[in-house]
Assembly symmetry: C2
DNA sequence: CAATAAAATTAAAACGTTTTAAATAAAGGA
DNA sequence: TCCTTTATTTAAAACGTTTTAATTTTATTG
């Protein structure tokens, strides 16, 4: 590997001069500058980031701490982060946290959660150590579902911004707008004439669930629709929860004409439960998702859903982090990005509910 | 940040000794060792990777060059890489290549492809520069579809292994076994009594398509089934291709009783095309996918498919890279991992084809 | 107990940069 | 022409580690 010394010798100058032309830190005579650049080209010189970082105490590296890199959301968020990082000549250090397969925070029993938490904490510590050792300039933490992670990370001196996760302290965080997203969905359902709108909720202790529930309730009120406790089902975001709860709803003496699911996965479950009962979607019952998974375009019929601004979130979180790194005050500590609405085929106009006494 | 000097002073030894106990490079007296370790604990010392790397010329960092980090396969592959890396105390530097949204190599017209190639090359160079500047010990290249990438990367002196991508030169690469995977699918179809098995192929110039076609043909021959050119449809891996081609197959005077799709996405298209025609799957027609997307469990009916060993591929590629870095000869330059079969609901026993004159 | 061998420790150089202060060269004015 | 100012350039120190060679301490042996 060629060093700055090689370049200096080739150009017939001192290394200080080479450094100056490369970083534009000091004025250097135009003709020496071109001589240096030619040498750089000729020798294919690329500065050693480590030596540079050692001196400047800035690595131009940021760390990503992802709870689950295989989660549907991670790819797009990281994509957004990466784009912004590349545009600003930052490199990205990736750390994954979930070591076990596909057991994300949304899974199973309390015991399992606890057990997980211990190994999870260990994983966090190890990854954090890796990042700290690399002396990253900042860290972005990506959750798998918005929830409180404030307690997870010990406080230290590198700036951190949380994305797709809520935190109790006044940290920097960027999320999508759960409340607005939920309103988008329920509003649409109401506009289509539905009066009996059921809710497939995510896990009850999640901040996201709570906010979306607020959006649901508020929109119901706005349209003077009754809030029926029996229409509220709690699940764990997953397919099976959607299926199971949809079956329960369908068995009600007065089943809903529309279902708002807080996750696309649960919406798939609900859709299939309806299909298994020979119900037609959307003629007999409407289903509305939330997430905007790529796959939702391919269900049959294609799922009407709320699109999370994943890439934008990634982008915005990197932008915020850069502000913090450069000691510029960002606009706000907590950024909320709006969801968009993608209308497809699973929601239709409410026909008179013909199947009230279905079973 | 505390340095090795702080630790040395605290423990009352020289920095050389601290280094020795930390890296176990030289024997140090047991009691001094504990004194040093206590100091490390007390001061919360974490060695500066850059200073270390500067001296040792090893960073214990590897770079990932992913063609599209949002592609369905990337998450799992990176997951596999990361796990193995973490176990061996390597950090991971991530670079994404596709800058535009969702336009992967499988898209559109030739013009588009070309235009893409230019910006793509630029992206590759920039990312490679980033990685080289960071002095990563090695690089893993992740494709989005197995295809020839040998020409993409300039040759340089850091070791590289290709995963999910074929390369013409004798580089290190790890892939899944396209041939075996295709046989798995067609064999199963034949076992279920199907004699008219159509093929939804991926893009014709892809190595993967070619290998899977071989598997298809060989299995047909093994079962003494005729190879019918009109049963071969070429698409571009995507949903729409599957839909369109399935419609064409259904319009044949003697339509197939089973369809083997080379991608799950195309299988979704085929499934929906059948459903739109009021055909029952699998009673009237069977559909077999290839990829094992997470979502395939949620189609209605759930898709029978071939599962790619994505995580294992990631793991194996990291393992191979580590071997190369350590100058150990890996078992083989080209590693092929077997696919597995996941049987769900879209393939049934072949009934007498009742719908030959369907249209 | 002295001499030697072995064990443990240390001082100093090196890695490839940036940066500061000093030195040199060029330009301008009398 | 000589002095002063200004524009360039450079030498050397520093960043935090590893590593080599040298030194000090401890143990062994005749």
């Amino acid at each position: 590997m060629t060093t700055i010394h090689d370049v200096a010798k080739q150009a017939g100058v001192s290394i200080g001069t080479v450094s100056n032309v490369l970083n534009k830190t000091n004025k250097v005579a135009p003709d020496t500058a071109v001589r240096v650049m030619e040498a750089v080209q000729a020798l294919n010189y690329v500065p050693n980031t480590m030596a540079k970082g050692l001196k400047t105490k800035k690595t131009r590296n940021i760390g990503i701490l992802a709870e689950d890199i295989s989660a549907f959301s991670s790819g797009d968020i990281i994509n957004g982060i990466w784009k912004y990082a590349e545009e600003h000549d930052y490199a990205v250090n990736l750390c994954n946290l979930i070591v076990n397969n596909r057991v994300s925070s949304v899974s199973g029993s309390i015991y399992q959660e606890l057990e997980q938490t211990a190994s999870f904490q260990k994983s966090v510590e190890k990854s954090l150590g890796l990042l700290l050792a690399s002396r990253v300039d900042g860290i972005i933490y990506i959750g798998v579902h918005p929830r409180d992670v404030g307690h997870i990370l010990p406080s230290f001196d590198v700036p951190i911004v949380y994305v797709y996760s809520y935190t109790s302290k006044d940290d920097y965080c960027v999320n999508y707008d759960d409340f607005q997203g939920a309103k988008l969905a329920v509003e649409y359902l109401a506009e289509m004439g539905h009066k009996r709108i059921a809710l497939l909720s995510g896990s009850i202790d999640s901040v996201a669930s709570h906010k979306r529930l607020m959006g649901y309730q508020e929109t119901l009120m706005k349209h003077h629709l009754a809030f029926r406790p029996e229409y509220i089902c709690t699940g764990n975001w997953l397919y099976e929860d959607g299926y199971r709860n949809c079956v329960r709803l369908l068995d009600l003496s007065e089943p809903p004409t529309a279902i708002f699911s807080m996750s696309d996965l649960m919406a798939y479950g609900a859709l299939n439960a309806c299909l298994d009962r020979q119900l037609r979607v959307p003629e007999d019952i409407s289903i509305h998702g939330f997430d905007g998974l790529e796959h939702s375009a391919y269900t049959h019929p294609a799922l009407t859903t709320v699109q999370l601004p994943l890439q934008e979130m990634g982008r915005k979180s990197m932008e915020t982090l850069l502000h913090v790194i450069n000691h510029e005050q960002p606009d706000s500590r907590s950024i909320l990005l709006p969801c968009s609405h993608v209308v497809r085929k699973t929601v239709g106009k409410c026909s008179s509910p013909i199947y009230t006494a279905h079973h």
